[in-house]
Structures are given as C-alpha cells and as structure tokens.
Amino acid sequence: MRYIPNADADRQVMLREIGRRSIDALFADVPQAVIDAHRPLGLPAKSELEVLATLTRLAEVNTASRRIPLLGGGIYDHYVPRVVHHLASRSEFVTAYTPYQPEISQGTLTVMFEFQTMVCELLGMEIANASMYDGATALAEAALMAERIRKRGKVAVAANLFSHQRRVLQTYAWAAGIELVDVPFVPSGRSDLSRLPEGISALVLQSPNAFGVLEDLDGLKSRLGEALLIVSTYPLAMGALQPPGAFGADIVVGEGQCLGLAMGYGGPLLGLFATRKEHLRQLPGRVAGRTVDVDGRVGYTMTAQTREQHIRREKATSNICTNSAHCALTATVYLASLGAVGLRDVALLNLEKAHYLATRIAKLKGYSLVFDAPFFNEFVVRPSDGDADAMHQRLEAEGFLVESPGAMAELGVPNALRIAVTERRTREELDRIVKILGGKR
C-alpha cells in the first residue's frame, strides 16, 4: 500500500517492541462475535492509473458540464480567475487541520479574519463567523439563533425562499419545536409585507428571492418591533445591490458558492453568516480574532470559543465544528483577486446581461415575464400557451441546460421557467436563446 510507509520488517520490530505476537492480537479487545460477523466488500484494489481512468470516464458521462447553463436557483455558473485555484490549492492550506495551534496556523487564521471582514463589507454587517456548511444550514442556524434571543416559538418565513433552503429550515425548526408561518408573495413576486404576523421571533426573507426578485426592505425593520429581521442573500450581487445590512437586517446569511467555488453538483458549498455585535454571544460557529503575542506582534487566533460545543457542550450556540474553511479561503482569494472594482464589474455584467435577455424575451410574441418587480440576474418566464415543458425542451435541444418547470411549480408558479444569466453568457448565446424561443414551434 503506497500510503502506508512501513514495511513488513518494520512491523515485526514494532510488534516485538510492544510484546504482541501478531497484528490480530492488537484487536483482542474487539468481541470475537463482531470480528466473525465481518464481511469484506468484495472489492479488489485498483492502481492509481485505473482509478483515474474509471473516474474520468464517469465524469464524461455527465453531460451537464458540456451544456450552456441557464440554471441558477442559488448555485451559479460564474467565472473564477485562474489564480484563485492555484493559490487555494497550496497544500499548506489544503492539508492543515482546524487552527487549534495558532502559532503554526497563522496562514489559515489570517485568512479567516480577512474572510470575516470581507463578509461584513459585502453584507453591510458588523460581525461574521468563519463559515457555515452552506446557505441553507446558515439560514436554519439563523432561525435557531433568533429563537434563542426572542423565545417566541414562531418564525415567519417568506414563501418565495429557495425550495432547498426551505426544506433544511423546516427540518431544523421541526426538531427545535419552532412553528414556521408562511408569508405569501404578491403578483410582483415580492413578499406580502402589508400584514406582518404577530408574536414571531424573526421574519425570514430572501432577496433576491427564488424568483430572482429583490424584496423591498426599506423601512421594514422598524415595522417588525422586537422580531429580528433575517435576510438570505446572493453575495456576488452585493457588488451592485444595496446590502441587507443597510436596511437594518439583524442576521444576514447567504450561499457563497458564487464567490469562486465550483458548482460541484451542489457541494461543498459555503454558508455566510453575519450579524450585529450585540448578538456576538449567540453567534454560531468559529470566529478568528486579532490579538498580539508575548512580544507584541499582531497575530490571529480562534476566539469567543465559550459559545462553542467543545466548551459549552449541550448549551453551545450550535453543534457545528468542521465548517467550510477551505471554501471560505477560496472565496477570500476570489474577492481579493477581484477587489471592489472587479466585484462591481461582475455584478453589473450579470445584471445587464440578464436584463438584456429578459427584455428581449418579454418582447417576443407568446412569452411574458411572470413578475414585474426589480430583479438581479434571474427571472421567470411563462409561455402564453402555458407549455413550459415544450419551451424547456426546445432550449435543451439546442444545447442549453435548463431547469425543469417543476422547480417553479413547487413554489406555486406553474407553467413557467426560471432563467439565470451570469457574466459567462455571451451576447451571441443570449441572442440564440431569443431566436430559439421566437422561432416557429
């Protein structure tokens, strides 16, 4: 075995040293019945060459990556500058553990600190943690945190949340005994905020929401009274959009895949989690802080750990331990590579191209945009004949990768397709879409 350096001769010496006759004797404490019951997998070992060949072949079976994606819904086909992968792949970053020994983990810790800062800058918030698993668990943890603070047993949730985020939130809330009440949406695609539910610990909104539509957060916070405002958002869009923090949100979460991560069939992802300083003691997850060493040199360390499971055990603010550290590092390098200017540029490219396509499609006979509120880079289209399946098939037949109409139907918007446009889509591709849809059926 090439990952096991010891030779048989070494093993014999070691066994002699510990006074055991065989390797089997090292397992004398495992009940014999358990040993006897063991069954192998029937799996022969393969060489590196064979494994690489097998998996390369399997990768090619996936046609998704060779198509032109118009899919969004939380995961987007963004361009990642090459330098990001090269730097993030350095083995000192990849093969390190959680920075429990800060003196030899300043690389990881400094990046954590930079990441927290960038997340706060993006979202307009005061403190952020070093990451959660994904946007969905970040949102679920936000609801649990709000419930710990306000203890009303009830959280109001926008009906136009991404389905995958809603599902995870539901699981966590069910176990914690938190009642979720729906906030319906109005014809514009925005949440109906005219009548806010009473007695809630928090209101959960998503902006841009599952229809791509931007919610109207202006003045909302002051109408919520004691209830916390939780907003789930699209971090890359913050290059062009006013961040939720500017509207007084108490907790802001988001899916950070858009910040330099592969789509990877949905994982690993990156949960962003930010809040206000006053809620520090209720923050879930790890955080790095700045301090000095005994010689007065600036350094970074994990801190505020009394919130965490290894100290507070069942009273911890979360059970999270392993998080998405390396994804956070990748996002940090991505943001550093773009800078504020590049981030604005890429966000505007998304915005302009999506609006170019949406405007052109809306002008076609037989198609309309389902919602008319402002949107960022995805929108929902409905063919006037109601046959979204046919529309889907025509785009797929031309090499595009399109979401099934079932995704919108699940949110109560039947016979419609959601289309996302990123900076990677060219005008030629967008014009081709218009041509396909405008052509004879």
Partner: protein, 487 residues
C-alpha cells in the same frame, strides 16, 4: 501578520472579465436608486502579483500533513492522496449544476450510488445518506432520525440522550440542537462505559445513547454488545460517533455491534483533506428501522438509470441544500477504489500498530492514565512531568521542534491530556523521531523548564494573548484605526 487590507492599492481587476457586450444601463436604471449599492465594500483593489504573493506568504505560515506528522488525537490527520484532488477537479464533476436534470448527471448519480453501497458494506448497515457534510452534521442527522423514529411511533416521552463523560463536545451539542436533553454516564476505572451506571439510567424517557467506538481514550468498548443490547432492550436506539473508524476499518462493522446510526468522517478515515477546518463529509449509515427516515432525496437505481427519489413520506426532510459535499465524497470514493478490501484492512492494522508502538515507548516518559491495549490513539498526561509544567507548555515546545502538537486537554476526564493519534501513514522512523522529541522535551521540563514556558520561540508568532482576544473582540479589520495611523 499583514492582511490583504494592508497591501497598498497596486492595480485593479481589469482584464478578468470582458467589457459588457450588451447595451448597458447601470444598476440605478434597472433597480432604482434605493436598491443599487451606494457605498462600495472596502475590499482592496490590488494586482494579481500582490494577491499571489500575499496568499503564498500566508500559506507558508501554516503547518499541514505534507509538512510532517500531525498527531492530533480524534482528528485522523492522515496523508491526503493527490489523486483525490485531481479527480474532484475533473470538469464533468466540478462543473455539474445541482439543478441539472437526472439525465445530464448520470455520472454523478452513479458514483454517489456506488459509494453509498460501499459505505453500507463498510458499516454493515442497510442504508446510507451522503447528505450530512461534517461529523457533527452526521450526529445531528442521526438525532433527527431518532426523534422522527419515536415521533412516528407516538413514543414522544423519549427526550433524553445518554452519553459517556468522555464524549466529544459535538455529541451533547448535536443532541441538544435536535431538541433532546443530555444525561452523562460516568466512565469506569478502565475508561469505558460503566455498564451498571448505564443500566440505572435506562427507562422509557431515554431515546438512545451516543457512543464513540473506540472511545476518545482510544480504548475499545469491550462491553459493546452488552451496552447496545441493554439500550435496545429498554426501547432506545444506539448512535455511534465514527470519528474513530480508522481503528477497525475492514475488520469490524458498527452494524455488527448494534449501531442504529453511525457517521463516517470521510475527511478523517477516508483521506479527504481538512482544508484548515473543512469542508468535510459526514455520511450516516443506519439500521433497517431508520432507512425510510433518511433525508431526501435518495439516489436510487431504476433499471440501468440513476435517479433522485423524493417520494419518501417518512423522511426527516433535508439537512443540506443538495446531495451533500459531492466533491468530497468523490475523493473518498477514489480512495476506497484504490484501497480495496485489503487496503482498507491495512489502514486499521497499521493505524493501531503505530499507536500501540508509540504508546509503549512514550509511557516510559509520560504517565499513561489508562494503561492497556489501545486502538488508533492513546491519551498521556503531562501531570507529574515537572513542577509548573503544563500540557500547553509541552505542546508549544513541540512547535519549536518543528512538529505539530497532539490534541491537548481532551478528553476532559484526563487532566493535562495529550491525545496522540499517529495514523497509518507515518513510518516507524517518523514515529521514533516524534517520540525522541517528546522525550527530549520531558527532560527539558525538569532541567530547563523556562524553554517550555517560553515556547514557541521559532514559530511565526509566539504565544498569543488569548485573554485580550476574548475581552476585546476584533473580528474584522479596523479600517478606521488603520486610516488614522497612516502617515
């Protein structure tokens, strides 16, 4: 340490993205003034050279498995094969959108399906979900499954989870997030679960027990069959924390020990890297009675096609946005394929041999509170080494010798604990070198304790002021302060 925020503006991101090829109108035109960003985030605009040098310099301040032995107990810091990284970067996998229809992602679904079957085989249990993305997430999923199991049976009085006092902190925290209360079971003189104390707690308020096998002292629960039988007889379920699977991989199966739910740490046992704290993957295997409760969607095979099955009415729902950390699972899959049955068994053989060899040598210098056959790890104490010398001092002195310290101050039942897990990927030569350093430090503790107290002196920074960090939290770069002090 200078951060990216302290690198002078040296350029901008011009040239990464093409100019806009559609008629542009600007954010305010499309969105209105209120929704368009009014103030840019303070992310510096620097050249690619600056970015490359900054993060390369930071990387050199880290210690990784590729630098040398990383004997963190409970963490299984084994070598991460490079093949895994390349496989996960194959565009067919890396660029697959999770919303793509099944027909376009048959390759992803096939490997997820096949890996699921392999993990079921390793666990000796009939169902596996790949959705949880970390060990603690696996525990939480297990606790959700327990809750659902009793809810479906109408047995809602079972609100207590039992755990040994040597448990990882994630265990009680996971139980609590899933809405359970926690009762601690003391360990006996051998460091294993006190069977009588356990029996005394078992009644119809107990939902189950969470065990780590072998436990966090590296000791196998020799009474494991009695423990799981007692819990089952009392109507409870058994959760196994799989952090220590490296000690019996290919030799024994949790399913044969009575586990109802068991999580794998793919990032420990199955060689995927830790990345400075994540991402991991925490696949959960379950017994027959919990299979229908597993998270949706499940990957299934229909004829020769693979599909996602959402129609699982008894399911707890979802615990992750999509299908778990797919690219991490892919690395673990590549690893299992390379190892085969023989290789899997060689992992635990050598992990346990290495640990016992080190334990035997080091117990001559450091006290070993539980002196018995260990599995893949063991726990020493610095108590009695020398007056005024703590485990923290020993750990920091190891840094001066260029070695990563073991896990310290855990498990909580051993004072001044040093928890050492060498893994199978270290050679005898490396183990001898590590032991020699620890022995030299023990001698220094008596003869030159100041060297330990002052350590580390050869690291990028010396001991950090943890008290100041906690009293005056600075979690984000102080832009204002920096601007004020600028020349």
């Amino acid at each position: 340490m200078r951060t990216i925020f302290e690198q002078g503006p040296s350029g901008a991101a011009e040239g990464i993205f093409p100019a806009c090829d559609v008629p542009a109108q600007g954010a305010a035109a499309w969105l209105g003034r209120d929704l368009a960003r009014s103030e840019a985030p303070r992310i510096p605009n620097v050249s690619e050279t600056t970015v490359a040098r900054h993060y390369t310099r930071l990387s050199k301040l880290n210690y990784g498995v590729d630098d040398g032995i990383y004997p963190l107990g409970s963490c299984t810091m084994k070598y991460n094969p490079k093949l895994n990284e390349d496989v996960a970067a194959l565009p067919g996998f890396a660029d697959a959108h999770p919303g793509a229809e099944e027909v376009h992602v048959q390759g992803c679904l096939e490997f997820l399906y096949e890996l699921t079957r392999l993990l079921e085989g390793i666990a000796g249990l009939p169902g596996v979900t790949l959705q949880p993305v970390a060990g603690a997430h696996g525990e939480l999923t297990g606790m959700f499954l327990f809750r659902k199991h009793f809810e479906l049976r109408g047995d809602t009085g079972r609100q207590r989870i039992l755990l040994p006092d040597s448990a990882h902190g994630t265990n009680p925290a996971s139980a609590a997030v899933a809405g359970f209360s926690v009762t601690q079971i003391p360990s006996n003189a051998c460091g294993t679960v006190d069977l009588e104390a356990l029996r005394a707690e078992l009644d119809d308020t107990v939902a189950g027990i969470m065990l780590t096998v072998p436990n966090t002292l590296g000791i196998f629960e020799t009474d494991i069959l009695e423990i799981t039988r007692a819990v089952h007889d009392a109507g409870g379920l058994c959760y196994f924390d799989g952090a220590n699977l490296n000690s019996f991989l290919g030799r024994a199966r949790p399913g044969d020990m009575g586990a109802d739910a068991f999580h794998f740490n793919l990032h420990k046992t199955l060689s995927t890297p830790h990345g400075g704290g994540g991402p991991g993957a925490g696949a959960v295997a379950v017994s027959e009675r919990l299979v229908d409760l597993l998270p949706v969607p499940r990957v299934v095979k229909r004829g020769d096609r693979y599909a996602l099955d959402w129609d699982r009415p008894k399911s707890i729902g979802s615990v992750h946005s999509f299908y778990g950390n797919v690219l991490v699972a892919l690395k673990a899959y590549a690893y299992i394929l390379q190892l085969g049955d023989e290789g899997l068994r060689a992992v635990s053989d050598n992990a346990v041999l290495n640990a016992n060899y080190l334990q035997e040598r080091l117990k001559r210098t450091y006290a070993l509170p539980y002196d018995r056959l260990c599995k893949h790890e063991f726990v020493l104490t610095s108590e009695g080494l020398a007056d005024g010398v703590t485990t923290l001092d020993v750990a920091k002195r190891l840094i001066d010798y260029g070695v990563h310290p073991p896990t310290v101050y855990f498990p909580l039942i051993v004072h001044e604990a040093l928890m050492i897990e060498p893994t199978e990927t270290e050679s005898k030569e490396e183990l001898d070198r590590f032991a020699e350093i620890l022995e030299r430090i023990a001698a220094e503790a008596r003869e030159h304790p100041d060297r330990l107290h002052e350590a580390p002196t050869r690291a990028p920074v010396r001991r950090l002021d943890q008290t100041a960090a906690a009293r005056n939290p600075v979690f984000t770069f102080p832009f204002e302060e920096n601007a004020a002090s600028a020349p």
